[in-house]
Subunit: 99 residues, 4 copies
């Protein structure tokens, strides 16, 4: 149960980090993103290291914030992606046990 509490708090930290990052990005460069959802989409595109180039920071403060996202955001999203893969693995193992 303590494990579940910890997992929930990690999930909340990551979701909070994403929402705050999108808001900061939108406030720093409203003209670049147009609306908050596009800033969220850019934050996710950056944290996933995909970086299509449809959105990117143009001002110096925006670029500094982008570097911050590289150092703190990429690892956070990779945690989420890793958990999704682990879940897939454990679902498979349970199915295998059931057969």
């Amino acid at each position: 149960k303590l494990m579940t509490l910890r997992k929930t708090s990690i999930t909340l930290i990551i979701l909070g980090f994403i929402v705050v990052s999108a808001t900061v990005a939108f406030l720093l460069e409203p003209g670049t993103f147009g609306n908050w959802f596009n800033a969220l989409y850019w934050v996710m595109t950056t944290m996933a290291t995909v970086g299509y180039g449809d959105y990117f920071a143009k001002s110096d403060p925006g670029k500094v914030f982008t570097i911050f996202l590289y150092v703190f955001g990429i690892g956070l999203l990779s945690l989420v992606i890793g958990k999704v893969i682990d879940s897939l693995g454990s679902i498979q193992r349970q199915r295998g046990a059931g057969t």
Copy 2:
């Protein structure tokens, strides 16, 4: 033999995920991709986190689906890439044992 069955089912899940994702992407934004193969190419480019920027979602539903691909697709393709590397390693070990 059970191991082989599991590996086959993981491969089938990932191939199915890729085919369904390409189809969903093409249905969401037919004008962006032009044809199904380009949507497949974009799905693979996204799951590999390369993101050239030659194709990217333009509508809000397309961007929501892109974020879904980041969370569920990147880990799946990294599984495939990891297996390919492990196979290379085991081929090498077998060759080494044969010498």
Copy 3:
């Protein structure tokens, strides 16, 4: 304490690598980057494997240096990102122990 010394020296090596790389990139292609900070931003964008495409090397020496960054820089930044994630984990564990 020896561990702390080692961690400090790894951090200094990585910071030095980033500063020198940005300087080399700016000297190789001043016209591409405009100023040193933009070269730093491009180095970080490359080491994080995001690659928006807002900046990229145009000359052959610049492209050779970019390939050098792929081989030596990507792993270095992934070390930093990994440490940040480990720190988050240990902060959480300490909090959990304190509760």
Copy 4:
């Protein structure tokens, strides 16, 4: 010594893979790359998952080859990057032992 032989053969396999991939890419789309070195730069940009978008395949065979690079090339370059990081670690450990 057997270990050294294996490491040398892995290095040769990866270098061979890169050279052959650049040649195939250049033969498939000579107009896209202009010369062999640009094709090599694109292969490295793809295998490192950076994908600036300055070069990308435009024909269907070129896109099929790109997908092949995602599945077989990304893992190979990540092996090289991992070895570089391990080497840095072991140099540091040797220095630490010498102090």
